[in-house]
């Protein structure tokens, strides 16, 4: 047991080191890149006063460690600076959008995770049948498609040819839960299609891998049904990779929403990030980038810890 907790502590320590490096890179990254940020944003004609004012606004005139500590202190108080583009506090800009993004990700995950595990189980159960081949072909195709293609095909089919759902997923605070669900039906379907493909393929592969073991043959020789063997003998031993791929895909859901949000003009954090990058609105990019990165790191940490817990053999690495 001590080995297990030591391993988990090591993973947590690594996650914190990563978060520290990320926060340093994000807050001081301007310094490591060639060129003068103030000049490249304000243009060559900018006066010396304008450049100095811009640098003071971003704190570029202060030494590195002071900047980092001030930025971190502000972060703790949820004071993320002011947007360069429209002079609103970044925290206000992010607040509502963060909850919108989480709503989208949570709904997509709630549908995708059970669906993909079930499909993976069925594909392993009916291995080499037309059903298995159909599911495998479909998922292989969705993996190779860029997200925006999946999204636009869905729009063309379900918003234009058959006007069932809106092509723009606009949600406002005034809408109730069901209206919101209807509004985000298409972005959710896009995310579900992409995520299901990944989880389902790995679930199937993990199960089929275990199904080749001698103890499964033993169970078969005892005359057990295939469904029983898969659920009670194979599934527990393939839980570790399945949990791992699920959590990694949840991390993808939070980060990968950027493109999907842009396609559906969804008022979420991803769209804000993409917008702010093209406007070079640095404070907003830093704040939303940090939120995305932190979520990703923490979910990956969760994946590591959970898969160790699910597999006793991983608790004693050789």
């Amino acid at each position: 047991m001590s080995k297990l907790s030591a391993y988990i502590l090591k993973r947590i320590a690594f996650a914190f080191v990563t978060l520290f490096v990320i926060s340093v890179l994000i807050s001081l990254g301007v310094e490591f890149l060639p060129g003068d940020l103030a000049k490249s944003i304000l243009g060559q004609q900018a006066t010396a006063e304008a450049l100095a004012a811009f640098r003071a606004e971003l704190g570029l005139d202060q030494p590195l460690h002071v900047r980092y500590i001030e930025w971190l202190g502000g972060l703790m108080r949820w004071d993320l600076g002011r947007s360069l583009a429209n002079d609103i506090p970044v925290a206000d800009l992010i607040g509502a959008r963060l909850s919108n993004t989480l709503f989208l990700a949570v709904v997509a995950a709630a549908i995708a995770v059970p669906l993909s595990v079930l499909l993976g189980l069925l594909a392993a159960l009916f291995k080499e049948t037309p059903f298995d081949k159909l599911v495998s072909m479909t998922t292989l195709t969705t993996i190779s498609f860029p997200e925006f293609l999946v999204a636009y095909i869905l729009i063309a089919l379900l918003a234009v040819e058959l006007p069932l759902f809106p092509s723009m997923a606009n949600v406002t605070p005034a809408m109730d839960f069901w209206d919101r669900l209807h509004a985000i039906a298409l972005p959710v379907s896009t995310l579900v299609l992409v995520v299901v493909a990944h989880i389902m393929r790995l679930t199937r592969a993990a199960l089929i891998n275990v199904l080749g073991r001698p103890y499964i043959e033993m169970a078969q020789l005892k005359g057990m049904t295939r469904a029983w063997i898969i659920l009670y003998h194979a599934l527990p031993n393939s839980l570790a990779p399945i949990i791992n791929v699920i959590v990694i895909n949840l991390a993808y859901l939070v980060v990968g929403v950027v493109v999907v949000e842009v396609v559906f003009v969804y008022p979420g954090l991803g769209q804000l990030l993409a917008d702010s990058v093209s406007k070079r609105d640095l404070p907003v990019v830093q704040a939303s980038g940090l939120i995305f990165a932190a979520t990703y790191v923490l979910l990956n940490l969760g994946a590591d810890v959970l898969s160790v817990l699910a597999n006793p053999r991983l608790r004693h690495p050789k």
């Binding site: 690594f14 996650a15 990320i22 925006f148 293609l149 636009y152 063309a156 493109v259 842009v262 070079r280």
Partner: protein, 304 residues
């Protein structure tokens, strides 16, 4: 060389042959875009989003439904016809698709090549030198891989601006972490063999060990990985272009073309789907070939 390749293709399963066909078509477009394209890359030839060959029907009914028919397009050249219709500025979509193949594929190839150069050099170096070099590079790569790629790229691009050289270097660096992992793992295997030890005892230089002893035996998995990394980079650069942060207009590039024409989809004009499907086909094609190559060469990849 070519005839043996052809013989191999004939023996390959249908999926790999389909992949080769897709790659061949795109290589043709890549090489001969200016000769094949009926119009110039940025030449405006007609109205906005005019239909292509499917609108050859010029009856009253069709005209009222779809607007001008194919033969009525205002072409600046008599011999040219807008087979796939026109885009959001009235440029020929087919010509832009051909030039786009050239731009999108070449930038993805350059990035993948650079990423392999960085990743393989570091990976072989880490595997042959061991010790602190290995530790330093491996731990740096661990931290970099814990960072979501798209977010990293977006943050760097917001600071450094979206010029093409910046784009190439940023994506190549991010992608080289995965190449590093694979090449280090494969090289460690080879490094443990007797003939490398013999070369070491012979007193060969480090570069000799890396490129003359280890490289030849690590080639098959690395070549297959090149295909897979190319797919990833290709999709990644398309996504960035789609977000307006990749190649900048008026350069024809498939990702940007999707973005530019996407507004019309809600009106039932599916111009944007053409470049989007092209991106998907290239990815699927390269994937199929890489997959076949891996199975054939090493059998490294299992069911997944």
């Amino acid at each position: 060389m070519l005839s043996s390749l052809l013989r191999q293709i004939r023996k390959a399963p249908w999926s790999a042959r389909l992949g080769f066909l897709i790659i061949a078509i795109n290589l043709l477009a890549f090489a001969f875009a200016p000769q094949l394209a009926p119009f110039e890359e940025t030449e405006i030839i007609g109205g906005v989003w005019e239909p292509g060959f499917w609108a050859a029907d010029c009856s009253e009914e069709a005209l009222s439904l779809r607007g001008p028919c194919w033969s009525q397009l205002n072409h600046s050249r008599v011999d040219g016809k807008a087979w796939l219709g026109t885009d959001h500025l009235g440029r020929d979509l087919l010509s832009r698709m051909l030039y786009g193949a050239r731009n999108s594929i070449s930038i993805a190839l350059i990035i993948t090549a650079l990423s392999f150069f960085i990743g393989m050099t570091l990976g072989f170096l880490a595997a042959t030198m061991h010790g602190w070099v290995d530790q330093l590079v491996s731990r740096t790569v661990d931290v970099m891989m814990a960072f979501p790629t798209l977010i990293f790229a977006l943050i760097v691009l917001s600071v450094a601006g979206t010029s093409t050289p910046v784009l190439i270097i940023v994506i190549a660096l991010l992608d080289s972490t995965r190449v590093f992992r694979l090449s280090r793992a494969v090289a460690l295997d080879i490094e443990a063999t007797e003939y490398v030890e013999v070369a070491r005892l012979r007193g060969e230089r480090l570069s000799w060990l890396m490129w003359r002893e280890i490289l030849p035996n690590t080639l098959p998995p690395l070549i297959a990985e090149f295909g897979l990394r190319f797919c990833f980079v290709f999709l990644f650069i398309s996504a960035l272009s789609f977000l307006g942060l990749g190649l900048q207009p008026p350069t024809a590039d498939w990702g940007s073309m999707v973005k530019e024409n996407a507004g019309a989809i809600t009106f039932g004009v599916y111009t944007a789907l053409v470049p989007a499907f092209a991106i998907a086909f290239v990815t699927i094609g390269v994937n199929m070939v890489a997959d076949w190559f891996l199975r054939k060469a090493a059998g490294l990849r299992d069911e997944y």
